[in-house]
Amino acid sequence: MGQFIDGPLWTFSLSVFVLGVIWRVVTILIAGNRSDLATAKGSAGKGAIRTVFSRFVPERTVATRGRIQLIAGYLFHLGLLALLFFAKPHVDFIAERITGLSWSAMPHWAFIVSAEAAFIGLILLWLHRVLNPVTRLLSDLDDHVGSILVFLVMLTGCLALAQAFEPLRLIHLLLAELLLIYFPFSKLMHAFTFVMSRGYTGATMGRKGINA
């Protein structure tokens, strides 16, 4: 079982993840968009790039009315990003199993702080999703499965922090593999597609000469 999780299943889930993400992104890109026959009043490319970054700063009413989601969202995403790519065990794992090259990991205390930020964010976000009537209504199974799967991967990772017990590492790895397999076919794809959706809006608006 352990060998299966560590070997074939890891290769399989990583392939599903990579191929799935490429497939999803490619299908979106080749869908294309209708050619705009109007005279361009501005640069579509510039508008797209502008919007991809400008949307990181929320609009004022969104910031005040959705303050919890904003704070928790940033805590979660930044924390997760930091611990995913800059935690020592992850850097070592990526270097050993995927890229063959490593980069400098953050110190252990920063790893823990980012994990705690990510936990605060994710727990608050999911509770908000369930408790708030509007978000509960808007959420479907995919949202809950995605949230819970990410939470379980984070939780088992935190339980395996001692890095001394093989079963704990395997449970963490198994859940991460399930997440990788689930990822391309779910809303978790927003990690990649947010660039395209923002870019699309930005390009459309940029061409019309509007700062969106």
Binding site: P107, H108, W109, I112, L161, A162, A164
Partner: protein, 209 residues
Amino acid sequence: MARMKFYCDPERCIECNACVTACKNENEVPWGVNRRRVVTINDGDEGERSLSVACMHCSDAPCATVCPVDCFYTTQDGVVLHDKDICIGCGYCFYACPFGAPQFPEDGAFATRGKMDKCTFCAGGPEADSSSDEHRKYGSNRLAEGKLPLCAEMCSTKALLAGDADTISEIYRKRVINRSASVMARGVSYRDASFRAPHSASGKSSAKE
């Protein structure tokens, strides 16, 4: 069946720290961990005495009592050992131990004590005797080779004694007897100069000599 014990004679210990170095070298303990240490009382003053301290391999070890995962065990020779595969690094043994024997490789902030490490009486751990796994986790297993702990073996003044409790008791008793004899012969009171004497008295007696 032997009951292995350490005894450090404060009348003989000269704080050379050779036991500390020998232990560290023999067992290849991690950086920052010292299974043995020499503590000096009244350093530089009258009545200065030193003691070499490590795990005393208690007959009823407090560390074993408080361990939440029950990772300690006592060998046939009365050596208290622990299983690093079971240890979770909670630090409770360190709170309970009278001698400060348990050590933790502190490799960072936020509770990363790591697995506990302590003196094994050079008896390794639960793995097969003298296996590479045992050596990596616990250091040397000199007892399996019929040798005593290196710290005591290479003590230059034979202050640190290791071995069967009966034997080291005998050696110690002979020492006490010899000392008391020389007290009578030379008028020097070792009792007064000993570790347990009030240090005001010890200065006078050594000055006389």
